[in-house]
């Protein structure tokens, strides 16, 4: 067994996560980054090594699962083992200036991004999520995919609506509205061939500032909003049970539960499936109780079902 050694302090390596469903343009974006690195030594961890289209004269060395470019960038394969790939990057000498992880099409980018907040030698850059303007609506309508895709969108700091050249302007407006509904804080950019600003891609994300969910007047017609509030601080287990299955048509649910003594708080989030519930710090001004806000496709949400379930929660409280 090897001895556990504290790692020497170093400047943390900024890490950006690039995600998006199949065909959204992740590989194109990686190629774009590598071509326009402009002096930054970027290290990219990719799933699909074969599709990194780099001109042969730019490649300095190819060694097993890594590709060294003449401009100082490196491209390495994750090869199914993110632990190993990430350890190798951190052991690289010299360290690259920036790390970019290309997530797989079904990855939950938030989970990968979290490692940059956990690992002292990494610092969190943006979660960049690409959406294919041509297929986004169809993806979100597919029962097998809707949750995966909407969760990816919800996790983004920067949303790139890609392939805008092949979609009409008014459709783009609607899509942009849809993205805003699924993620109220991310920057949204329309791009073609994934050609986004490299500065913005590699920038540290602005702290998330909540936008008002109702601030979407132009798209009100497509969506409706539902909210619920109770000053009773139900036990988190009961709330979890009440929300275990959410009615169809719901696109996004957000909520906050603060305990009666204001000692604990939980954040509730769902993009259609069972909500994820996580402990969080008690917001300074928060009062005890449960607050929920949801958006849904217009006329698709069974409001009564939701109300009934939460009313039952109140009943239980009385017993």
């Amino acid at each position: 067994m090897t001895a556990a050694v504290p790692m020497p302090p170093t400047t943390p390596l900024p890490m950006t996560v690039v995600a998006g469903y199949l065909g959204a343009g992740k590989t194109t974006l990686v190629n774009h980054l590598l071509r326009n690195a402009e002096g930054r030594r970027i290290c990219v961890l990719v799933n699909d090594f074969g599709e990194i289209a780099i001109d042969a004269d730019l490649i300095e060395a190819r060694e097993g699962d890594s590709l060294t470019l003449a401009n100082g960038c490196v491209c390495c394969s994750i090869g199914g083992d993110l632990f190993r790939a990430l350890s190798r990057v951190l052991d690289r000498k010299p360290r690259p200036d920036h790390l970019v992880i290309e997530a797989s099409g079904v990855a939950e980018p938030a989970r990968i991004a979290e490692v940059a907040r956990a690992e002292p030698e990494l610092s969190a850059g943006a979660v960049v999520v690409l959406c294919d303007a041509e297929t986004l609506s169809a993806r979100l309508a597919e029962p097998l995919l809707a949750r995966t895709v909407s969760e990816q969108i919800a996790a983004a700091d920067l949303l790139l609506l890609n392939k805008c050249d092949s979609v009409a302007g008014e459709t783009l407006d609607a899509l942009q509205g849809l993205l805003r509904q699924l993620n109220e804080t991310a920057e949204i950019r329309r791009v073609e061939f994934a050609a986004a600003s490299v500065e913005e891609l590699l920038a540290e994300p602005a702290p998330r500032r909540p936008r008002d969910l109702t601030d979407t007047a132009s798209h009100e017609a497509l969506y409706e909003r539902w909210s619920w509030e109770s000053e009773a601080a139900h036990p988190i287990e009961t709330v979890e049970q009440a929300l275990a299955t959410l009615p169809d048509g719901l696109l996004r649910l957000k909520g906050l539960l603060v305990s009666a003594d204001r000692a604990a708080a939980w954040e509730i989030q769902s993009t259609g499936g069972t909500p994820r519930i996580a402990r969080r710090a008690v917001p300074p001004s928060a009062q005890p109780g449960l607050r929920l806000v949801a958006i849904a496709l217009r006329d698709r949400l069974d409001r009564n079902a939701l109300d009934r379930r939460l009313a039952a929660l109140k009943q239980e409280e009385l017993v």
Binding site: A4, S87, S104, V106, A118, E119, L144, P275
Partner: protein, 543 residues
């Protein structure tokens, strides 16, 4: 021929219906020359008789169709699980049934360490079986305040660390990271969940499961774990198989003393489908009699007990649905089509019924235009398969390798928490598979549950849970059917039924040597039949 010898036994159960029982088996060049009684076998000539097994019962060497090298490699660390386990040296580590026992075992191991900086790492821990307070850093701080300690949970998705290990990762009061559990006062609790939260601690303590699975010691320990439970052919059902790994496997399995035939399946998620196909075809040609390469493993969903399996309506009984896909559905269709098109055998991990539907859809599509009459594609685990899905498997010629050990190890949890009392009755439906004519194997998925084909067979026969409940009497199978599933059935799932899995002329002379006759004992006692030793290619194996 001078190297021919004859083994005699109290009884030889051949699994060959043409000659189900014998007393003598002649072996030449590692293969079975003759099976029968003394007279029939001596008709081939007067060969030396090896009667050391005269009081024993011989079966075909068992075939473990779904397990992982980590089942051997993890023994580098301290085992503190709830159930008994046998280590590569043959020592039984009794299960620890409360936290106090686990702490005591950690304390003893800590006291035995000399270098103050060596971390103490334990594995196999599973809070799902324990009542009372959840293991936390305070328990582990009591073992040592200065030495980093990490307890890896049995599912490998969680670990609990002491304060010394948490500090190495700079986790402390005020840490706000998803997966770093907190106490009421905001200090880390010690439990770290999933990759992101675990990474900094694992990296600093040198815990690397991938490296462990490809380590020479790990591969050797794995051979011993298999040998101890009568297994002579064992899978490693997902492996990266890089050039260096393959060289090492060829070397180790090439040694006469390595006690098993190893069948690794290539990880189908590490490269695009066409590259995986090329690699699998190239590997196939490197196969030897002791290392069988060429199959590919694909994963669809997660696990039922982890709530990451993809479950059809009405979903999980209690608890949240965190169903995941390991590959986008259309990429799975594409990959399955590519690999089947190249005539590569697929082992597809499916747990939930929604994932089973998807895998069957993928196979149905590809088999429509790439007809492969004897493809042997196998659904692995396949725990929630129902009658309609078994009918589809039969129609498509797809085999199934059911996770029978789950009935005992997680059956109570499936009944009470994940699936509910009704659906839990049907999980790992061995009788349904056979009734629908689907080729059946059963497995342990070691290290998830302990390897032991007789235990696996016992699970399928009795369907008894850890608490003593019977889960789905209608899905019980007979002892003979269960023994078939851990020999010929599993060999069939690996396309090796022509060479192992039964004791018949021409096949490899691989035997499990048992102290009792599993076909004569009470079905409830099947798991207690002791394994004496094994024979591989006619040679008695030794540690």
């Amino acid at each position: 021929m001078s190297d021919t010898k004859v083994f005699s036994a109290r009884k030889i159960v051949t699994m060959d219906p043409r000659r189900p029982v014998a007393s003598h088996v002649a072996v030449r060049d590692g293969r079975i020359l003759a099976v029968g009684d003394a007279e029939e076998v001596s008709a081939w000539g007067d060969f030396p008789l090896d009667s050391r097994f005269a009081e024993m019962v011989l079966l075909p060497g068992f075939v473990e169709g779904h397990a992982h090298v980590l089942a051997g490699a993890m023994w580098r660390y301290l085992y503190i699980g709830y159930h008994d386990r046998v280590d590569p040296a043959g020592i039984t580590h009794p299960g620890l049934t409360d936290i106090g026992q686990a702490i005591e075992k950690l304390r003893q191991a800590e006291a035995a360490l000399t270098d103050a900086r060596t971390p103490l790492i334990a594995w196999g821990f599973d809070p799902i079986f324990l009542t009372g307070e959840r293991l936390n850093r305070h328990h582990l701080d009591g073992v040592s305040a200065s030495r980093p300690i990490a307890v890896v949970h049995s599912n490998f998705h969680l670990l609990t660390a002491n304060t010394a290990a948490l500090s190495l990762a700079q986790y402390g009061p005020g840490t706000q990271i998803v997966g770093v559990a907190l106490e009421e006062d905001g200090h880390p609790h010690g439990e770290l969940r999933e990759f992101a939260a675990m990474f900094p601690v694992m990296r600093r303590l040198g815990i690397d499961f991938g490296a462990l699975a490809r380590s020479e010691d790990g591969v050797r320990a794995y051979g011993e774990v298999a040998r101890r439970c009568g297994v002579t052919t064992v899978t490693d059902l997902i492996a990266d198989l890089e050039d260096g790994d393959v060289r090492q496997l060829l070397e180790i399995t090439g040694e006469a003393s390595y006690p098993v035939r190893l069948v690794p399946a290539l990880n189908g998620h590490a490269a695009p489908a066409y590259e995986t196909a090329e690699r699998a075809l190239a590997l196939k040609h490197l196969s030897t009699d002791k290392l069988r390469l060429g199959a590919v493993k694909l994963l669809t969903d997660g696990s039922i007990q982890g709530f990451t399996a993809q479950v059809n309506w009405p979903g999980y009984f209690k608890g949240p649905d965190h169903g995941i896909w390991n590959m986008p559905p259309e990429q799975l269709y594409d990959t399955v089509d590519n690999l089947n098109g190249e005539d590569i055998q697929l082992h597809i991990h499916v747990n939930g019924d929604k994932a089973i539907d998807m895998a069957l859809d993928a196979l149905e599509r590809t088999l429509g235009h790439h007809r492969r009459p004897d493809h042997r594609h196998t659904l692995q685990h396949c725990q929630m398969a129902g009658p309609a899905q078994f009918r589809r498997m039969q129609a498509l010629g797809v085999g199934v390798n059911l996770f029978a050990n789950h009935l005992y190890y997680f059956g109570d949890q499936h009944r009470d928490i994940t699936l509910g009392p009704d659906r839990a009755q049907g999980i790992d439906g061995c009788a349904s598979a056979l009734a629908h004519g689907v080729p059946l194997a059963i497995h342990s998925d070691a290290p998830v549950t302990p390897m032991g084909p007789l235990i696996t067979a016992w699970c399928a026969v009795n369907r008894q849970t850890a608490s003593g409940d019977i889960l789905g009497e209608a899905e019980r199978i007979s002892v003979e059917q269960a023994l078939h599933a851990v020999t010929l059935g599993a060999a069939h799932s690996l396309k090796m039924d022509g060479e192992v899995g039964s004791i018949e002329v021409g096949k490899r002379a691989d035997f499990a040597v048992l102290e009792e006759d599993p076909t004569a004992c009470a079905p409830e006692a099947l798991k207690d039949v002791a394994v004496h030793s094994t024979v591989l290619g006619g040679e008695v194996t030794a540690p």
